[in-house]
């Protein structure tokens, strides 16, 4: 399953859906919203946007790359869009494999590839402005490029 969701991700349901009699391992990666703080301000929440349907196709491509490299029987990647509050899951990756090695390696590969090729952008909404992560463009004073 490859999907973008506007609401909370049901991690338990994704894991249950990956259980198979021919697999001895399910590896789950959950990326959560980290709240950074500076001296006078803190992140209130994150906003994600994506270029769809390109982003959907890129998630599927990552799944196909994984299936070519490792013996995995189930790959799910679900990413949030819109507002994501502190500590919430912004991305969940579930990989089922007959053996633990490929499950671990493939989930690591998936999150690394998401950060490379999937057109998703994260904006930190601080108490004193916003910053687009990766571009450092925004309304916070320190965010202005040189």
């Amino acid at each position: 399953m490859f999907a973008f969701l506007e609401g909370p991700i049901d991690v338990g349901a994704l894991i249950s859906a990956a259980q198979r009699p021919d697999c001895g391992a399910i590896s789950t990666f959950v990326g959560t919203t980290r709240i950074d703080e500076s001296e006078r301000a803190s992140v209130k929440y994150l906003e994600y946007e994506a270029y769809r349907p390109m982003a959907d196709r890129k998630l599927e491509e990552i799944g196909a790359e994984i299936e070519r490299r490792w013996d995995v029987r189930e790959v799910s990647i679900v990413h949030r869009l819109g507002r994501v509050g502190p500590c919430e899951a912004s991305v969940v990756i579930v990989v089922a494999s007959p053996r633990r090695g490929p499950a671990f390696e493939a989930s690591r590969y998936a999150i690394d590839r998401i950060k490379e090729i999937v057109p998703i952008w994260k904006c930190e909404i601080w108490s004193d402005g916003h910053v687009w992560v990766g571009s450092q463009v925004g309304t916070r004073e320190r965010a202005s490029p040189p």
Partner: protein, 84 residues
């Protein structure tokens, strides 16, 4: 509703922020992405400082600067991605 007889340009993330819009249409024919860029930057000067950080997609797939674009194509201006 924007007419479709031009090149549709979509802007995302920091690029949309800098341009103050998410979508525009440019009228040009038989040009490459590299040649399209000055037209985009002329319309939205705030984008110019971001040039070296940007990637482009044509009709939903990453494309190099020498890719030709025509009316009816969709060009996306993509700042560094930051999913996860």
């Amino acid at each position: 509703m924007i007419a479709v007889d031009g090149i549709k340009v979509l802007l995302f993330g920091a690029a949309a922020d800098r341009a103050g819009t998410r979508e525009t249409v440019l009228f040009a024919e038989g040009i490459t992405l590299d040649e399209l860029w000055p037209l985009i930057a002329e319309r939205y000067p705030g984008l110019s400082p971001m040039r070296d950080t940007l990637a482009f997609a044509v009709n939903g797939e990453y494309a190099r600067g020498d890719t030709r674009v025509s009316p009816g194509d969709e060009v996306a201006v993509l700042p560094p991605v930051s999913g996860g």
